[in-house]
């Protein structure tokens, strides 16, 4: 509808909107032309008398039907009264300034959609062209080579934007095609975004086909002591009779104190030796109650029962003393 709205009365506008709604199936150009001409006419009639246009001209739907019949236009497609009514209401709502503002904003965004739908379509085609076991989508859908991908994507942008700028197509098959593409793009938009987002977050997987040499990456040695693949947080020594020992100092094969390499923990009991050095290899580690500052449970141990060892003489006081001093020959740490 073009801008011949020179102080059109509300009655006239709503009448025109409803006639327009009843003509909604006509090509946009023809419809706009009809309504434009009708607009001046309706304005004139509205200015002539005080009674409503509907009272003088009959219902807008009948008016539209009469117009169609005499102009030799195809009769309205079998549309229920309800549909025509809703279309009329939509037309009227579009007159409201707030609705019109939103509509104008969306119309301004149309080029964004033209670009987006081209991207979605290229992404979809790429996706389905890929073998199913290594499907992935990048922001620029990968069509083999980077140059081809970029060219195809740009070509799709041009086609889509040009199609958008040409507006409503005249031929029915063309209109169906555009509608089908739009619907497909709307449905696919979210999945495509998700897939691309995943690829951006986690990286596209690269497959080395026919490269027999695996890449060996040196891992930095992990801190701490591991047993069976999981980190050791504490060590509980038991003697031959099955009694738990306290403050047993352990050393490795080089005579270095065996530390579990744990991060600093203020609740861990700090042990010092006679030389005033911190001792981190006295096991089991004990933890303090934060409120009292005392060791919370000196007898804490894993739920095990260690039966006495066979063929080992009962521990003599000399034996632990011997192990406690393994004479670190070179280990100064």
């Amino acid at each position: 509808m073009t801008g011949t709205t020179v102080a059109r009365s509300q009655d006239a506008q709503s009448y025109l909107d409803r006639v327009g709604a009843a003509l909604a199936d006509l090509p946009e150009e023809e419809r706009a032309d009809l309504l434009d001409e009708l607009g001046t006419h309706v304005d004139e009639i509205a200015a002539e008398g005080a009674s409503s246009l509907e009272a003088r001209l009959g219902s807008p739907e009948d008016y539209a039907a009469e117009l169609r019949a005499s102009a030799g236009l195809p009769p309205a497609r079998a549309r229920g009264r309800a549909v025509v009514d809703v279309l009329g209401r939509v037309q009227q709502a579009r007159r409201r300034p707030d609705v019109a503002a939103v509509e104008h904003f969306l119309v301004a965004l149309r080029p964004v959609w033209w670009v987006a739908r081209a991207w979605v379509v290229v992404a979809m085609l790429t996706w389905f062209a890929q073998p199913h076991w290594l499907r992935s989508l990048a922001v620029v859908p990968d069509l083999g080579s980077a140059a081809v991908s970029v060219i195809v994507l740009l070509a799709a942008f041009v086609v889509s934007v040009q199609a958008g700028r040409r507006g409503r197509l005249r031929t029915a098959p063309g209109r169906w095609l555009v509608t089908a593409v739009n619907v497909a793009a709307v449905i696919a938009l979210w999945p495509v975004l998700q897939t691309v987002n995943e690829a951006v977050l986690y990286g596209t997987q690269t497959y080395y086909v026919g490269d027999p040499k695996p890449q060996i990456v040196e891992q930095p040695p992990a801190e701490g002591v591991y047993s069976g693949g999981s980190q050791v947080w504490n060590v509980y020594p038991y003697d031959a009779t099955g009694r738990m020992l306290h403050d047993v100092r352990l050393y490795d094969q080089d005579g270095n104190p065996l530390s579990l390499g744990l991060a600093f923990d203020p609740t861990k009991q700090q042990t010092l030796d006679a030389a005033g050095q911190k001792v981190d290899n006295a096991f089991p580690y004990r933890y303090l109650d934060p409120t009292t500052g005392e060791v919370a449970d000196p007898e804490a141990a894993p739920p095990i029962a260690a039966p006495p060892l066979l063929g080992v003489p009962a521990a003599t006081p000399a034996a632990p003393a011997a192990t406690a001093t393994p004479a670190p020959t070179n280990g100064k740490r």
Binding site: T40, H41, L57, L67, S70, A71, G72
Partner: protein
């Protein structure tokens, strides 16, 4: 008999006849048809007829700026329109003649009964 039924058949000729007199825009044509006695003419029909005759190539159309309001689309008859008018006019007059004598005969026989 309802004149609207009759009008359907002759609206083309009526519109062409009005425009043959003088060019006019849609509502102007409606008014002139009504002034001539065709009170029942619906303005949607006149609009549709103008449009159809124009598409068929029987009319010319031009836009005239107007001081009081929006521009008006004027229609005028062209050569093809005049030919159509002459042709249809002849057909109509012959038809009216036939109808006239038919109806005159029936009133006469009614009078004899």
């Amino acid at each position: 008999m309802d004149t609207t039924q009759l009008l359907k058949g002759v609206l083309d000729v009526a519109v062409l006849a009005v425009l043959d007199d003088e060019d006019g825009y849609g509502y102007d044509v409606v008014r002139r048809l009504r002034a001539a006695g065709l009170d029942e003419v619906g303005d949607a029909s006149v609009y549709g007829t103008l449009r159809r005759l124009y598409s068929a190539g029987a009319l010319t159309s031009y836009v005239v700026p107007s001081d009081e309001g929006p521009h008006r689309k004027y229609y005028g008859i062209n050569k093809q329109g005049k030919a159509t008018l002459a042709e249809s006019g002849k057909t109509w007059l012959a038809f009216a003649d036939t109808m006239g004598s038919l109806l005159a005969a029936s009133t006469r026989s009614e009078g004899r009964r």
